[in-house]
């Protein structure tokens, strides 16, 4: 008896549901331009605002030591605390912090003048250099430089005092005069200039560029050591370190005329069929001996690895070098006499092949000093008797007696942040212990969570058919699924079982640490690609023209652009991805599939190379060289100027 009302009520609901589902499906296929699209939820495309993402929310800050500098009298250590916007001063008699001062903008690189009266601070978050008076730690002056300055060096030249600043985000080097504080030149560097060293005579300054570049897909990458005349700022030389990258440390070696550069040797062109024997990468030091030859030698051993080499310093007598290995929590001690002896007896072929000889380092490595988590910057006391190691994720500075090579104290800056899951995740991210023999860490390919600019041939069902460009982790929260084939639904899956099998070659990262790692990655903000002074400012006219091109629905002549081929369809704001698989005509001869996950575009200006296998060196090349029949957006009607405008706009995302 009650069946009729039930049917009367439910039938319209069912019909409405079916109709709505059909409508949604039609809507999804129409809006995505993918007629074969299966079910996706509404929120797959209608994403939340950026302000709801983890990286946009406030997070705890820590006393992580960045750059460190010892006063000329050896009594004081200055420590940059970029995450706190502070600089600390420590008394080296008591190993305690005596003063801290606010320096806005992420102070990271430090340098003192010759007498220790002025402290120069490179602030990488606000693109500026600040000058502090060491007497009262008050800021005396400030000057804007390029994007994300990471280091600074002071030197005296015949033309006056100079400051050399590598700007890692704008790929250039600022040369400043000190009195008055002016930018004299800004010269193009390699990719991501990161660290700087002044030669003993003050006539040459060498800048290590952290990232490698390559001339074309599948060619050998190289990172540049940029050599400049500090007086004029002119480029003296550009030395290529073949297959080397992630050069974070550089130092002059007094008495020898050498420059040492910490590097990672990468074998990204070789299929990753294994990890052992440094198959994927290994760590070392590049030695420029001033004779035009650069020799790379390993820090690693045949069965032990010391990844992510970072800071490097040489003793005043030129007898020893110290290299921080951030991934293995070790400082390696190199006997430079032994290294010089090996170099002297080795022939050219041996020197050329030294870096792949994993059984070489025992000849010159004399000690490995254990440190706390993530040692990066190093400094030596003026007499060389004390080594200072910034233990970045411990919020401490380790003090080592260089005679005994034993720790003699620690300068405590903070509590290590062990109650912060993001910080704990960063520890997982930087530690190599989760890979076979501790050969590399997440950071080895994702410095600061970003890209290393390389493509790797991952192990798969076959060999040599899985060449994929590395993708930045900065700003990935909310852009799942992951991997170029979109098969990994979560960061935990991506970094757990998949990486354990194809890359780490050991057990999966334990679940608690895996969750911490995912938390850290989700909190990585997108890479800033515009100067700090332009953040929040309107687009330039060129960028605005590029924006209109990006959102164009018609060609210049009024012809409609099919929805599937409009930029905004796949690269849908606010994340600039629809998180779907799409073919843009880039299937290579070795690729098993032609559809790829649509990458997000936030920070895309810093993510080169582009396309799934990294074939496009620049954003321009996506359309000038690798566009196929207007499959990757309709670009055939663009003029060169319009393409320039589009690229300018993309670089603001």
């Amino acid at each position: 008896m009650k069946l009729k009302p039930f049917i009367l009520v439910t039938t319209p609901l069912i019909l409405a549901g079916v109709g709505a589902a059909t409508g949604v499906s039609v809507h999804e296929r129409r809006m995505s331009g993918l007629p074969q699209l299966g079910y996706v939820s509404c929120i797959h495309c209608h994403q939340r605002g950026l302000d709801t993402l983890p990286w946009a929310k406030p997070r705890p800050h820590h006393d992580a030591p960045g750059g460190i500098a010892v006063s000329p009298d050896g009594k004081t250590l200055f420590i940059a605390l970029d995450d706190r916007d502070e600089v600390a001063e420590a008394d080296l008699a008591s190993f305690t912090v005596s003063r801290r001062t606010k320096v806005p903008g992420g102070p990271f690189g430090l340098a003192l003048d010759a007498v220790g009266k002025r402290l120069f601070v490179a602030c990488r978050n606000h693109d500026r250099v600040a000058v502090l008076d060491t007497l009262d730690l008050k800021e005396q002056a400030s000057i804007d430089v390029g994007i994300r300055p990471t280091d600074i060096a002071y030197c005296k030249t015949a033309e006056g005092e100079r400051l050399i600043v590598p700007n890692s985000g704008s790929d250039d080097i600022s040369v400043l005069s000190v009195s008055p504080l002016l930018e004299l030149t800004r010269s193009a560097a390699g990719r991501e200039p990161y660290a700087v060293a002044v030669s003993g005579d003050g006539r040459r300054v060498c800048i290590a560029n952290r990232m490698a570049v390559h001339d074309q897909i599948l060619s050998q990458p190289y990172s540049e050591v940029t050599v400049i005349d500090p007086a004029s700022g002119h480029i003296l030389a550009r030395e290529a370190l073949q297959s080397a990258h992630l050069a974070e440390g550089i130092t002059d070696v007094p008495t020898r005329g050498w420059t040492l550069n910490s590097v990672v040797r990468v074998s990204n062109l070789v299929p990753i069929t294994q990890v052992k024997d440094g198959w994927v990468m290994s760590s070392g030091v590049a030695i420029a001996r001033g004779n035009g030859e650069v020799t790379q030698v390993p820090l690693d051993e045949a069965n032990a690895y010391f990844p992510d080499p970072s800071g490097v310093v040489a003793s005043p007598d030129g007898k020893r070098a110290y290299v921080a290995s951030a991934g293995s929590d070790v400082v390696t001690v190199i006997d430079l006499d032994k290294l010089a002896a090996w170099l002297a007896q080795a022939d050219e072929a041996e020197r050329g092949g030294a870096m792949v000889n994993m059984a070489l380092s025992y000849r010159y490595v004399v000690a490995r000093i254990p440190t706390g988590c993530d040692p990066q910057h190093l400094a030596l006391s003026p007499d060389g008797s004390r080594l200072f190691v910034a233990e970045r994720l411990e919020d401490r500075v380790l003090v080592v007696d260089t005679a005994s090579l034993k720790p003699v104290g620690r300068i405590v800056l903070g509590d290590g942040g062990l109650d912060d899951p993001i910080r704990l995740g960063e520890r997982v991210f930087t530690r190599a212990r989760y890979t076979f023999q501790g050969q590399f860490s997440c950071r080895s390919c994702h410095p600061d969570g970003h890209v290393d600019g390389l493509s790797y041939d991952f192990d798969g069902a076959g060999v040599g058919d899985n060449l994929l460009a590395n993708r930045s982790l900065c700003g990935v929260a909310g852009t799942e699924p992951f991997k170029w084939n979109g098969k990994n639904p979560t960061l935990q899956y991506q970094d757990g079982p998949r990486f354990a099998r194809v890359l780490m070659r050991t057990d999966e990262i334990p679940q608690p640490q895996l969750d911490q790692l995912a938390t850290y990655i989700k909190h990585l903000p997108p890479t800033r690609t515009i100067p700090w002074s332009r953040v929040g400012q309107p687009l330039t006219p060129a960028e605005e023209r590029g924006r209109k091109l990006f959102f164009a629905t018609k060609r210049t002549d009024g012809t409609p652009i099919p929805r599937a081929l409009q930029c905004q369809t796949c690269h849908r704001p606010p994340l600039y991805t629809d998180r779907l698989l799409t073919s843009v005509g880039t299937k290579g001869s070795q690729d098993t599939s032609g559809v790829f996950d649509t990458p997000h575009l936030i920070g895309v200006g810093a993510m080169a190379p582009y396309l799934h296998d990294g074939r496009a060196k620049t954003l321009e090349e996506i359309w000038t060289i690798y566009q196929t029949d207007d499959k990757h957006g309709v670009s055939s009607y663009w003029s060169k100027l319009q393409l320039n405008d589009l690229v300018e706009y993309l670089k603001t995302l």
Binding site: L218, Q220, P221, Q242, S243, R265, V266, S267, N268, L269, V270, P271, T273, Q274, K276, D277, G278, W279, S282, E301, A302, N303, A304, G353, M355, V356, N357, M358, A359, L360, S361, Y362, V365, F436, Q437, D457, D459, A461, G462, V463, G464, D465, P497, A500, R501, V502, M504, R505, T506, D507, E508, S589, Q590
Partner: protein, 475 residues
Amino acid sequence: MCLGAASILLAGCHPSAPDGSLVVAQTPVGVPPPPAATVLDVRYPPGSRVVLLVPPFRTDSVRELSRGLVAAGDPCVSWDGRWVYFDGKSSDDADWQIYKVNAGGGRPERVTRMPGGAMDPALAAHGELVFSSPVPKAGRLWTAPEPAALYRQMPDQEPARLTFFGDSAVGATVLRDGRVLFVSAEPRDDHNAHRHLCLFTINNDGTEMTAYACQEDGVDFIQRPRELADGRIAFLAARTEELGPMGRVECVRPAAPFATRSSLFAFRSAGCRSVEPTAGGDVLACVETSGWVGRSMTPIAAIYRVAADAAAIGAPLFNDPLWNSIEATLVAARDEPAGHTSAVVPGAPYGTLLCLDVNYSSEPATGPSPAPATKLRVFASVGPGQQRTLGEVPVASDGSVIVQLPVDVPLGLDTLDAQGHVLRHQPASFWLRPGENRACIGCHEPRNHAPRNARPLATTQKPAHLGLTDPTTVP
């Protein structure tokens, strides 16, 4: 006494071993061994036993752990320090198998049921047991028609074979990085030819079989490799005329294992039966000295605790004139070695081999031809003295080759010039596991070298496939 018994009962008859205890393999002194059937019968004659030695290491403080067995030896302590695995024999006619017993005492439990027996227990991560099987006949360890292979066995699971050598794979130990280090013979075509022993590693799924050390050294006997606390690999080495279960103690440094072979101790260490690491960096060494047994001077093995840099062996830690203490291991919890996520695809009929440059070698090519190789010939060992040619594949102009090959069978390689002359020859001595992608940087390439960063041209083509169906068989 009563308190001790009560505590044992309260512990569920599984008392834990007191701190600092040792597990020791002992053989009776002065008892002439009967004719031995297997290599283990030689090493552990009837009456041999595994005991717990409790501090302060007096002869009256020994607990037998191998009760009920006619012979036992080769103890191995689990990573949590709670269990002892060892070789045991339940009767004179029985095969040797692996047993386990609570470290504090109890009844031994058999954990392997391998036809032909099992020996040389070692423990990997997650409770995985690694051992060799079958147990070769006495004097036939390196000439047995059915050589001992390595197996792995998870608790309550069936064993899985790991090695597919034509020679025995024995003496396994698990390194901290998770690899299995073991002893086998230097590859050669004629198994009756004089052989030298050397060290190899594999992953615990049988992939990535790799030479570790001593391949070029011409050592006649290597036994019981062990990883010390400082990472060095210690082992017993012996010359042919010193044939027997003892030798001098040598070591290699992991930083350069092919260049650093040396004596472990500063003093003469001949007559050593075993070395085992301790967490503190010292080494437990069982060394034969001479002692009076009845009216005759008889070698007796005693236990010494030796600092790695000691100038002399010092006084024994334990010496029982009635027993040879030939193997001693500290009972203690230690860090478990790393695990390994297997890349093996069960059931896959083939694996893939990539050589980056077959012309890259540390050895000169044989024959008069200086020309680079144009082809790679692959053959398989299909039985004692029987090899089958699988076929030839072209070599790319950069020397690279990629080929799919059958799995779990010993494979060998010849590089050929354009006229078909053999340039370099690799006896059938490596294998691929199902679905394994395997690569090498050259043929007889320099040891411990990483690849140069160049894209191998062979990867631009689909790999050739060679199977076992080719009828070409050569003796």
